[in-house]
């Protein structure tokens, strides 16, 4: 299982809102495919699949806030 992690986005940025998921649970993902967008400080950061596999879970749903370093979802 691979975690989709909210990366470091800048000094003092500890969290971001997941604006949207581009994929849904069960979708087959290619490594590097867009999976979701994290919005912070008025900018939207595209988060890509860190590995190939199926989207197993969405931990931070659309509109919810995630912490930097936290798993947003998992791929299996």
């Amino acid at each position: 299982m691979t975690k989709i992690i909210l990366p470091e986005l800048g000094e003092g940025i500890t969290k971001a809102v997941i604006a949207c998921w581009h994929v849904k649970i069960g979708d087959d993902l290619q490594e590097g495919q867009d999976v979701c967008e994290a919005v912070t400080d008025k900018a939207s950061f595209v988060i890509e699949a860190p590995a190939k596999g199926k989207l197993k879970s969405i931990i931070i749903a659309e509109g919810r806030e995630g912490q930097v370093g936290q798993a947003l979802g998992t791929i299996e």
Binding site: G10, I13, E37, T40, D41, K42, S44, F45, V46
Partner: protein
């Protein structure tokens, strides 16, 4: 920094071209600053609320405004002739990887640009864009992929402001203004382009 002026260009064509440039900058190409103008178009992000469009699609299209669903977060955005669109495609990977710092610099470019034309504008914490009083004059929408930036600024130079009556810009109840409205006359787009380039060079080189 390579400067390109695409002039008037259909939104979908510019969007495709921009995506290709993002990939080439990710692959190591030099940073690009793109200037262009789009024919009247509403772009609907994935979070566009139905109530953000104040008229039916048919009524909007009857006003000569195209409607495009786009693959981004965010709500509705209007582009139209007279609005100078600026797409900085910058690689932040080797600099400070800091979204906040990038946004602050972008807002500073916008504020300094307007000051060059005698317009006192401000950025408001927590609100996207740059404002004169409570009216928005420059829209800012930024995307970042692998630390390469895309999208950017929509500078209302001589935009037909009545087109904004079709929507709630960015889903908010905000009134829009333009450089033309504030100066009482049309502002030459070429002059604004030259100052945009100057300000980006000042803040980003």
């Amino acid at each position: 920094m390579i400067i390109e002026d695409w002039g008037p260009i259909e939104y979908p064509l510019a969007d495709d071209r921009q995506k290709k440039y993002v990939q080439s900058v990710i692959a190591g190409a030099e940073d690009h600053l793109i200037l262009c103008e789009h024919p009247a178009v509403l772009t609907l992000g994935r979070m566009t609320k139905p109530e953000s469009l104040l008229y039916s699609r048919a009524e909007i299209e009857a006003r000569g405004v195209d409607i495009r669903e786009v693959d981004r977060g965010g709500d509705v955005t209007l582009h139209a002739p007279g609005q100078l669109v600026v797409y900085p495609i910058f690689n932040l990977y080797n600099g400070p990887r800091d979204l906040k710092m990038y946004m602050v610099k972008l807002e500073q470019v916008a504020v300094d640009l307007l000051r060059d034309f005698g317009i006192l504008a401000i950025s408001i914490p927590g609100k996207r864009g740059v404002f004169v009083g409570t009216d928005k004059i420059i829209s800012i929408g930024v995307g970042v992929r692998k630390w390469v930036t895309y999208h950017g600024l929509g500078i209302n130079v001589n935009t037909d402001l009545s087109l904004f009556d079709l929507i709630k810009p960015c889903g908010l109840n905000v009134r829009m203004t333009s450089m033309q409205k504030l100066k009482g006359q049309a502002v030459p787009l070429g002059d604004v382009k030259a100052k945009v380039v100057e300000q980006f060079r000042k803040h980003f080189l």
